[in-house]
């Protein structure tokens, strides 16, 4: 099955696909962010492929390991044909990725989660706001430079040091 999808994609979009490989029986396709909606539309509507189910959207932060820094991963599934494809696109911190909300309703919340956790922007998203963290949260927790925890000062006479709320990196400077 994988080879059929691979061939079809190669025939149609050989110039727009950056990389294509099979890892542990799953077909991975890397595309540029600007070509993402076009390729997704093709995958969804093509009569032979019918990747009609968007399982999952997530991202990975390869801080200091790769350039561009982030990789957004889309898991598509074809309910009629029972096969899966993993689409990837690589972006930097300030790049915007076209939103897939016009193709799949489920992309709405999942893109919001990626935005909340990684701070990546999706252009054309109807309501790109935080979904899990508080609205006034500073920073994006799933980034690798966001600390899992931070150390409390062991001993200090300064009230500012002791006030752990102000000290916490995710509180920003505006917390009086």
């Amino acid at each position: 099955m994988v080879s059929a999808v691979e061939e079809k994609l190669k025939k149609e979009y050989s110039d727009k696909i950056q990389e294509m490989f099979t890892f542990r029986d799953d077909l991975n396709v890397v595309v540029k962010p600007e070509h993402l909606p076009e390729i997704c539309r093709y995958l969804k509507t093509d009569q032979d492929l019918k990747f009609n189910f968007l399982s999952c959207i997530t991202a990975v932060d390869y801080l200091g390991r790769r350039q561009p820094r982030f990789e957004i991963v889309y898991m598509l599934f074809s309910i009629p044909n029972h096969y899966r494809i993993i689409l990837k696109t690589r972006v930097d911190e300030n790049d915007a990725v076209p939103s897939l909300t016009s193709l799949w309703e489920t992309a709405d919340w999942q893109e919001r989660e990626v935005f909340d956790m990684f701070g990546l922007k999706f252009s054309g998203h109807p309501n790109l706001t935080r979904i899990i963290m508080d609205d006034d949260w500073v920073g994006h927790p799933q980034r690798k430079d966001f600390p899992l925890t931070y150390e409390l000062p062991q001993f200090s006479f300064s009230r500012d040091d002791i006030d752990t709320r102000a000290n916490a990196p995710w509180r920003g400077d505006n917390d009086a």
Binding site: F23, N52, F53, V60, V73, W104, E105, M133, D134, L148
Partner: protein
């Protein structure tokens, strides 16, 4: 800004019928729902972030805490993803026990759903009956793993420990009593006039909309899409057993109820086929780079001691790469995406939480319905907030 003729009603996060800390902002026109916006995040504990700081085996214990009503399914998807990445061969004995325990989990999860959902709509006695039966399955958890809820029973490569003597006898007791119990539930609800009035044609979603909204599991099958990962992409030993995919074409709350009841029967069917076939043999892989040797051998042999020490201190190190593995949990498709950088800790773990995706379709289900139907719809989606917020 909503127009002056509509009213905003806040429902939750502390509300008995939201199954946890779900908050829904309802925009109402009289008693008709114009818009329902779920607000989530009250139970966010950073499970995915925390996993990055733990070894693969340590992180497994956190998966129990996501969907705490179906801990074994979460264990299975996480262990399965790593096994896929490391290409581990699982012993048949472990696979049989995995199938039996995940199917028991499915029944336990559906029982909690049925009890709470029915209570929400007014059938108060259901909760007691369902929890009485669920207790039997929770006791099975305790029997095999020593823990009632957060069992962490499945490990990478197999099981945490062998099943105790008398396992099959106790499972058979459940198999004997259960079909009668499900008939009792049906007797209480299926033809009950009040139940049908509250659930029929409420929260209807078409097959096309359901696929588009990403619904999976019983919610999708109740809209007539016969997709079950156990059949479509069989994992573990599911291709060895016969069962039917429960579907319904109504797409309403009542349809979802019927699908889940049928699923419980099908789960019993799978367990019935599996229970007599549990083969003898190891319960965890004998690849010593993944699973430690039995303790009594660690105390006697040098090589075993080294393996044990290395696994405890360093853990195992999967090869570099990323995989996505998904299974059919009681709530729908639960998927695990793992990125490994070749070290003992996962570089990134992401779960595709079925509850998260399913609740995002709430507005579509309740728009234009009455306030009381919101309760019925939330119940019928079957959510667990621990999994939504992670």
């Amino acid at each position: 800004m909503p127009e002056a003729k509509t009213m905003i009603l806040n429902m939750g996060p502390q509300h008995p019928a939201t199954h946890g800390v779900l908050r829904v902002i309802l925009e109402l026109d009289g008693e008709t729902v114009v818009k329902a916006s779920p607000v989530i995040g009250y139970l966010h504990t950073g499970i995915e972030k925390n996993m990055e700081a733990k070894t693969y085996t340590q992180a497994l214990t956190m998966t129990d805490r996501m969907d705490y009503l179906a801990p074994m399914s979460n264990n299975l998807v996480y262990a399965g993803a790593i096994e896929k990445l490391m290409q581990v061969e699982i012993p048949p004995r472990a696979e049989y026990v995995r199938v039996i325990m995940t199917e028991l989990t499915r029944i336990a999860s559906h029982l909690v759903w049925l009890g709470t959902h029915a209570t929400d709509i007014g059938a108060m006695s259901m909760l007691l009956y369902c929890f009485r039966e669920r207790e039997k399955i929770i006791q099975m958890y305790e029997f095999v793993s020593g823990v009632r809820m957060m069992s962490s029973y499945f490990r990478v490569g197999g099981l945490a420990k062998d099943i105790p003597d008398g396992f099959d006898k106790r499972v058979k007791e459940i198999l004997d009593t259960f079909p009668g119990r499900i008939n009792e539930y049906e007797g209480l609800l299926t033809e009950n006039k009040i139940w049908r009035n509250r659930t029929e044609n409420v929260g209807v979603i078409s097959a096309e909309d359901a696929v588009n909204a990403g619904l999976s599991g019983p919610n999708l099958r109740a809209s007539g899409v016969a997709w079950d990962i156990r059949k479509s992409n069989p994992y573990s030993y599911y291709d060895k057993f016969e069962f039917d995919i429960a579907t319904n074409d109504k797409g309403d709350v009542y349809g979802r109820y019927l699908v889940r009841l049928e699923e419980m029967r099908q789960s019993l069917r799978i367990i019935d086929q599996a229970i007599d076939g549990i083969p003898e043999g190891p319960y965890i892989t004998e690849d010593r780079k993944i699973a430690p040797p039995p303790k009594e051998r660690v105390l006697k042999g040098m090589e075993e001691l080294i393996h044990h020490f290395k696994l405890v201190v360093h853990g195992f190190q999967p090869p570099e790469g990323d995989v996505y593995f998904s299974i059919e949990s009681p709530k729908g498709e639960i998927g695990c995406y793992i990125v490994s950088d070749g070290s003992k800790k996962p570089y990134r773990v992401h779960f595709r939480p079925p509850s998260f995706v399913n609740i995002s379709a709430l507005n579509r289900l309740v728009k234009g319905r009455m306030v009381a139907d919101v309760i019925a719809c939330i119940g019928s989606i079957d959510i667990v907030l621990g999994e939504i917020d992670r």
